[in-house]
Amino acid sequence: MSTLMQVRDIVGEVLQLGDRTLQLSAESPLLGSIPEFDSMAVVSVITTIEEHFGFIVDDDEIGAETFATLGSLSTFVDEKLS
């Protein structure tokens, strides 16, 4: 499964988006667009990504722009993995 799909599933799982998960694409805006995406959800997404991909996120590496779209979040994960 591509990173994008894995990140999509994590976001869908944490936010409990159900069928809406499948409608998300790289261009889908996250922060400020999905009402469930509050600060607790941001933390849960970061934690789940850390556990799923097995790396630690340094908080200096992330900002609002990381969570702008599903694509930007996925790109961040790819950069961490490479």
């Binding site: 799982e13 944490v14 936010l15 409990q16 922060l31 400020g32 469930e36 509050d38 600060s39 607790m40 959800a41 941001v42 933390v43 849960s44 970061i46 934690t47 556990e51 908080d59 200096d60 992330i62 900002g63 609002a64 969570f67």
Partner: protein
């Protein structure tokens, strides 16, 4: 066995009495004290804890669920919460519960409550007959970072101002500043206590431990830190029964959710 109605009451403790709910069994074969998780995780898990407590009571176990000082419906300002106070709360609850019936008594904790259960068992020499851990936090320092991230995330969501990283927030705690995080005023002393907790450095809290975690699928392996603690405890002669179950992380989900698999496994295994 039949249901007996749960009984809410105020349990005498320090520095104030605590809101508690007692789930008595019709004929008790033993008792369980629940140690609640931290902050919002406690509110999110209320329903699961109540459901599990009723199931335990039905199966013949008295259960006491207590809101620690300054948490939930207990009195007090969260900023005044300290580990020493919570530990005393748990000891008082433990003795109250032990006075209700004979039979084995267990400690049951969720997330940081699991960690606190192990801590209090050792520090206060409670000697529980069994310990039930639901997704215990292994390292308090990682948990604290995650909690601080709530404020980092909130500052990211805001349009103005600088991002407050956990590193920056820890520096504030270090100079004695309390921090307002997700509606909780975190005192540096409490943060300092949590920061030092490490299950990996603790002896097994009982001869028998049930250790359950939830994941998207039941075949997901335990995280390396969990595996390491489980193995260490086993090497020290503790019977650790661990299960990975499929289910939502009900202590964080946006909507209140339940995990039927966890409810069932717990009631099956605690005897």
């Amino acid at each position: 066995m039949k249901d007996v109605a749960p009984r809410p009451f105020f349990l005498p403790s320090q520095p104030t009495s605590l809101f508690a709910v007692y789930y008595p069994a019709l004929t008790a074969r033993g008792s369980w004290l629940f140690v609640p998780p931290f902050g919002e995780e406690m509110n999110k898990s209320r329903r699961m804890v109540a459901r599990q407590s009723r199931l335990f009571a039905k199966a013949g176990w008295n259960v006491l669920v207590v809101d620690l000082f300054a948490c939930g419906d207990s009195d007090g300002d969260f900023e005044d919460a300290r580990w020493a106070l919570w530990r005393q709360n748990l000891v008082d609850a433990w003795h109250w519960l032990a006075a209700q019936s004979t039979g084995p008594t267990g400690l049951w904790g969720l997330r940081l409550g699991g960690t606190m259960a192990v801590m209090v068992a050792e520090q206060e020499k409670l000697q529980p007959d069994k310990v039930l851990l639901w997704q215990p936090v292994i390292k308090g320092s990682n948990y604290l970072t995650q909690f601080l991230r709530l404020r980092t995330a909130a500052s990211m969501l805001g349009s103005e101002g600088d991002k407050e990283t956990p590193k920056l927030l820890r520096a504030k705690l270090d100079v004695g500043e309390s921090l307002e995080i997700a509606g909780y005023s975190l005192n540096p002393s409490l943060a300092e206590s949590i920061d030092t907790w490490d299950l990996g450095a603790m002896a097994p809290p009982a001869d028998a431990v049930c250790w359950y975690e939830l994941a998207v699928s039941a075949d997901k392996p335990f995280s390396l830190p969990s595996q390491s603690v489980i193995q260490t405890w086993q090497q020290q002669g503790c019977r650790v029964q661990c299960r990975m179950l499929a289910g939502d992380s009900f202590w964080t989900t946006t909507e209140i959710s339940e995990s039927p698999a966890l409810l069932q496994a717990s009631v099956e295994d605690i005897s």
